[in-house]
Subunit: 381 residues, 3 copies
């Protein structure tokens, strides 16, 4: 049987693989105006200039191509047609259609970002019928502790209690140090005295957690709990300095945490996904994904996915959407990932480089089984 | 109609699209010896070692493949045949043939680099029949002011006057701070006292403008005029430290200029074009191109163009050749860009990811309309 | 004749081209257990976790695909089948089969890394029937001098003598400063007094050579001998900080050595191979390869090889395997490089961008003739 003959079966298998979305946020539960929708499909801040629309982008084109049919339109509807149809269905039905079409069997939900504006774990579980577990954002817990009224000397203890309580039912922790300071942090844990002093400064000044001493403290406190720790790396909104979001900056921390072996999961990574692949190759406890990158690069996500399949062992890469807000992002993460994997691994097979069985096994590891193992989600792995 | 059936029409449309070359220099007006020609088709300094010729490169192969037919030879002529034919036609006719074949409807010409060796705006306009507008290089204006005899205290004022005068008819300004110091500049404007002090040091020492205080000053003085400001970023000749030419280093300046919104245009960018795409995504006033990279990567320019079409909104990318000297560079910039766009966007269409209309619209934005809007060139956009 | 019609001949030519492997190490002369074999096909340290096998990687898949047939198995044997067959043949025959299938006409062997565990030049020559010349690792020579008992004041002289002796028959020198410190070294040679002082500290402390003053000294002492100097750059095992292995960090040294023109050869380079291509373009005495990267990226090596063919003149790129230990690595370096070159250059031809003659010439330069010239190996170049 020629290699090409196995492709339809392989494509169907990838299309039907129940995914673990190892890093997502809630979908918006309410209807969105055109302006609000457009602001949510770009990482840029504020409304777009009047001479452009975010639909003129890979993500915009992917929405019109892939989401329009899910809402019952022909592919390549206009933005106006698409948004009119979206409004007619209403948020609840749009979410049900798009999240259903994503084919995700298990969500890990980061609940620490503008949680009041999107659905929480129970809302997402209700809509999708899939189990939804929580990823706890370290910085958000620290900010809640600070807001609750605590002394500088009491901060570390109260944070440890609050984090332990939140972590009881969570599957993972997450740090957004890349946003708050950059990943160029001293890799050593700070001393208790340093933490108290930094907490005193922070509690007096107020605002979000950006102090590098406290960022290090919450990371090390998280590591102590033993749950997998996710890191935002690579691009994101302009609060972040992309130069300081290169996952290679985590090398010191990776070296120091190798003996304990708590899984470290590098999220997104673009345009540093090859660097992430190297770290996943070199260190047994490092994992990564190219979530967020996939839906933002649209028709080019095939190249990004291909580049993620170079140095990294196939047991070290996972799937995520990083969807937040419009359920289009949760759906496109999955849909574009499936298309990219089908094309990239399919080409390995038809070029005679891989066997069909290797392609199936690799897709299953990355789409589902690696996350089941890392996060102890159960299910045959 | 299957997607493939629309490709011939799409390829013809791209082939015939009148381009705005938003950053070029003059073509050489005189005949060139083989040695002179070879020095002008590489960024390396000095004559090539005797065991190599710059024709053994992507650019060299592209000249023999694409320029030879414009001069009436078969594709893949030898370098000797090509240069003999070039000599027989003579510089005037070679320029007319190659610049004509580029299909450029409007040139923006940086006149600040070795202007005496190449044609100026009027010469280029005469040869091409297209409007040619000027891009004023900030550092060159400062050097002219210094050469004219000025006191340290008088420098800032005289520079402001000279720049305003030059800017009256220019469409854009440009900084080569990447060459002179690196883009790792303090993003704040210097104080008047700092400028005077730095000008004193410079005027005493002589030489080109490399002082970081004065580089910051001329950039901020340019920004005050409100014209789009182009920055050399990415590779170039070895005067430049490529690590210090990463456009991400401009983030501080980009953040500070976002409120005023003067367009910042990142030129060339390779191998940091994905970083440039991120900046163009994240900030409404940031634009970029992959000029220079396209002709130097030849048959591989399709990959570079594809990578430029990831994060960036399609309203933020422009076309340029960065041709300087041999008109082959002005022509190949356009020819290879057209071929790359036809292949990359054509594959999006045949793979079912984009509609033909999206491909046409995107090519037109990038090849012409974005530049018309950014530089207020007129013409339907 | 259509372009496609020439491809079979071109593929055959690439398949039969006798290569110069300009940077390899010895093959293991003894049988390997599964655990030992698996540790040698990854850059990670120590045994793999029990939930993974290094065979689940591009390199693992490539072994099962390409090496299995060399040992008489069908492609895509299981790891167990492959290792059983390997054990049945025995190390001597496995080496003979795989090294023979590599088609290498001349090896340059770095003998400075765990030399006791692998075959030396004479063993490799006996197995392959090809000439094997030595690459002398500067840091290893320095460590041998230190171990032999030397005073701080006598170190520089004794090192110079030892190096000159070793260099008498060697074809090249090599530095692993990327591992020992990072390439972010002061590009100037240290003074004699600095060397003596640093040698004193080192001799008192013991251990491997990691002192930046001494690393600079051995590099400059090597440059004085005039032999081509290879540098490890890019990824490797986790002893190395990948951020500090970017070949762009060598710019200062490259600038200072340009007048003398001793060839500097950047090895491996991934994921910085485009940076290496720029340096090879900009400086006549800089060369590079993508060895090590090719076998580790397996089915994706076609992309890596393609990216290496952008800015670099085709006279500046060479072939190497960087094989160490299992002869699979020496074979796959060659086999995957041939496949990648055939596909990349073949596509240039069928797309109409290159002539068949250009493809043949370029493959021959990179696979053989550039190394013959740089290392003065003799043979028609």
């Amino acid at each position: 049987m020629p290699a090409e003959a196995v492709l339809p079966g392989f494509n169907r298998m990838i299309g039907e693989l129940p995914l673990v979305d190892q890093h997502a946020h809630g979908a918006t539960g309410h209807d969105l105006s055109r302006a609000a929708f457009e602001e949510l499909i770009t990482e840029a801040h504020g409304p777009a200039p009047d001479w452009m629309t975010p639909f003129d982008s890979q993500l915009g084109h992917a929405i019109l191509r892939h989401c329009a049919p899910v809402l019952g339109l022909d592919p390549f509807a206009s933005p106006a047609e698409y948004l009119a149809r979206r409004a007619r269905w209403g948020a609840e039905e749009v979410n049900r259609l798009l999240l259903g079409a994503a084919g995700v069997a298990h969500f890990l939900l980061d609940t620490g970002y503008r949680a009041g504006e999107v659905l929480g774990p129970s809302g997402m579980a209700r809509l999708t019928g899939a189990p939804v577990d929580e990823v706890v954002r370290l910085e958000s817990v620290a900010e809640q502790v600070a807001a609750s009224g605590v002394s500088a000397a009491g901060f570390a203890g109260r944070f440890a209690e609050a984090l332990a309580e939140r972590a009881r039912t969570a599957r993972a922790l997450k740090s957004v140090a890349a946003y708050r300071h950059g990943l160029d942090l001293d890799p050593e844990p700070p001393s208790a005295a340093e933490v108290t002093e930094a907490a005193g400064r922070w509690l007096a000044a107020g605002g979000g957690l950006t102090d590098p001493v406290l960022l290090r403290h919450v990371i090390w406190a998280g590591l102590d709990l033993g749950l997998p720790l996710q890191f935002h790396t690579g691009f994101g909104d302009p609060d972040l300095d992309l130069r300081r979001a290169d996952p290679l900056l985590l090398r010191g921390l990776i070296e120091r945490t190798a003996p304990a072996g708590v899984p470290l999961v590098l999220l997104h990574c673009y345009p540093y996904h090859r660097n992430a692949g190297y770290l996943a190759h070199a260190y047994p406890h490092v994992f990564f994904d190219v979530g967020l990158s996939v839906h933002h690069t649209g028709a080019r996500s095939v190249a990004v996915v291909a580049e993620s399949l170079e140095l990294a062992p196939f047991t070290k890469l996972m799937y995520s959407s990083d969807g937040w807000g419009p359920a289009e992002l949760h759906f496109l993460g999955a849909e574009l990932w499936r298309r990219a994997m089908a094309r990239v691994l399919g080409a390995f097979v038809t070029d005679g480089d891989w066997s069909p069985a290797q392609a199936v096994r690799t897709a299953t590891l990355i789409g589902r089984d690696n996350a089941r193992r890392v996060y102890r989600l159960g299910g045959a792995a």
